[in-house]
């Protein structure tokens, strides 16, 4: 038995859990209720302006990347609970998807 390197997976998971808890619901409320109903209008101009700002980029990356990582790690652990072996396949599927999504977000933000 030796000290594990799990913290590298767990710390962003914990941060992601808090970010998701505080911010995700209101975001879904905005994009899933307020915008479809017409109370709010998210124009390309307005959102791109926010994303153009370097601090805006960091905020958007954090709000997207951390919950994504949280979901990936938690789903990996849940797969084990459901009887799937905690092997390369599950880890690659979970963390691999997270990496792809986070990378896509980062690249998109850099392009704006």
């Amino acid at each position: 038995m030796a000290r594990s390197n799990k913290p590298i997976l767990w710390l962003p998971f914990a941060a992601g859990g808090l970010v998701a808890a505080l911010i995700t619901p209101i975001l879904i409320f905005i994009t899933g209720v307020l915008v479809p109903v017409g109370v709010l209008h998210l124009s390309h101009e307005k959102v791109a302006a926010f994303a153009h700002n370097p601090i805006g980029k960091l905020i958007l990356l954090g709000v997207v990347a951390l919950p994504t990582w949280h979901a990936a790690h938690r789903l990996r652990m849940t797969a084990h609970d459901l009887g799937l072996s905690d092997g390369v396949a599950v880890k690659a599927a979970c963390y691999g998807s997270a990496f792809v999504l986070i990378l896509a977000a980062a690249i998109a933000l850099l392009m704006i």
Binding site: M1, A2, S4, K6, I8, A14, T78
Partner: protein
């Protein structure tokens, strides 16, 4: 006609049985009886071959843990009057091999307990002339709840990760490690980390919380483990950023 209640008990005789099987006994219903009283009645009057552990009959020794209607409980702490069904199912604690009837093999737990070094570890020689360790009530309060564990193993039976991975160090052992890590007289956190902060230590836990739900002494091992995850992560970061520092 006096009231009775049926106990459906999982029997296993390793010398005769290939598998465990249920056997039902009809016992008198008494308002103040616990399941342990019913078991003792069976052993005294109906079937002397029934084997089970018990001792204090007052929820302090931790001997009589078993599954009662699928829930890990101390049999001395489970009142017949709380079970409305006419049949009460009694089985040995989950996640442990069955030795015989309601007796489980707890060797693995004993090993896990000793592996976390559950004793004060000092960082320097203290001559007797220095006198006792001094500890304020506040310092005691920091770890007192984690001293209350009676090693009853209900938490191991409740924990799904214990069921899925027999190498998981488990709630009670990790709570005890936390008890020492929080003790102001102790300097052994680093010595315990190889076990506590290993993959089979706190990292196997997914905070189901069932352990704390079933604990008869309100030790709250789930809290101990989450706090240890945070402490272990901070130690990990420290080691990363200050690689030469003493662990």
């Amino acid at each position: 006609m006096s009231k009775t209640v049926a106990l459906e008990i999982l029997r296993y005789n390793p010398e005769v049985d290939s598998e465990p099987h249920f056997q039902t006994y009809e016992v008198p219903y008494k308002d103040d009886w616990v399941v342990l009283d019913a078991l003792n009645h069976i052993k005294d009057h109906l079937d002397a071959t029934l084997s089970y552990r018990w001792s204090c009959h007052m929820a302090v020794c931790g001997s009589c843990g078993m599954m009662i209607n699928g829930e890990p409980k101390l049999s001395c702490h489970a009142f017949l009057r709380d079970y409305r069904d006419r049949v009460i199912r009694v089985e040995p604690l989950d996640h442990f091999p069955i030795e015989r009837d309601l007796v489980i093999v707890m060797d693995s737990f004993i090993e896990k307990l000793s592996s976390v070094k559950p004793y004060l570890i000092s960082n320097e020689e203290r001559p007797l002339s220095d006198g006792e360790h001094l500890q304020t009530p506040l310092q005691l309060m920091a770890f007192k709840q984690y001293t209350q564990c009676i090693n009853c193993l209900l938490c191991y039976a409740a924990c799904p990760q214990c069921g899925l991975n027999e190498n998981f160090v488990g709630p009670a052992a990790l709570a005890l490690a936390h008890r020492y890590n929080l003790d102001s007289r102790d300097h052994g956190k680093s010595d315990r980390a190889d076990v506590v902060a290993s993959n089979e230590g706190v990292w196997e836990c997914t905070f189901v919380g069932a352990c704390s739900d079933v604990c008869p002494k309100r030790v709250d091992p789930a809290a101990a483990i989450q706090q240890t995850k945070i402490a272990a992560s901070l130690d990990w970061l420290k080691a990363l950023m200050l690689p030469g520092a003493k662990r």
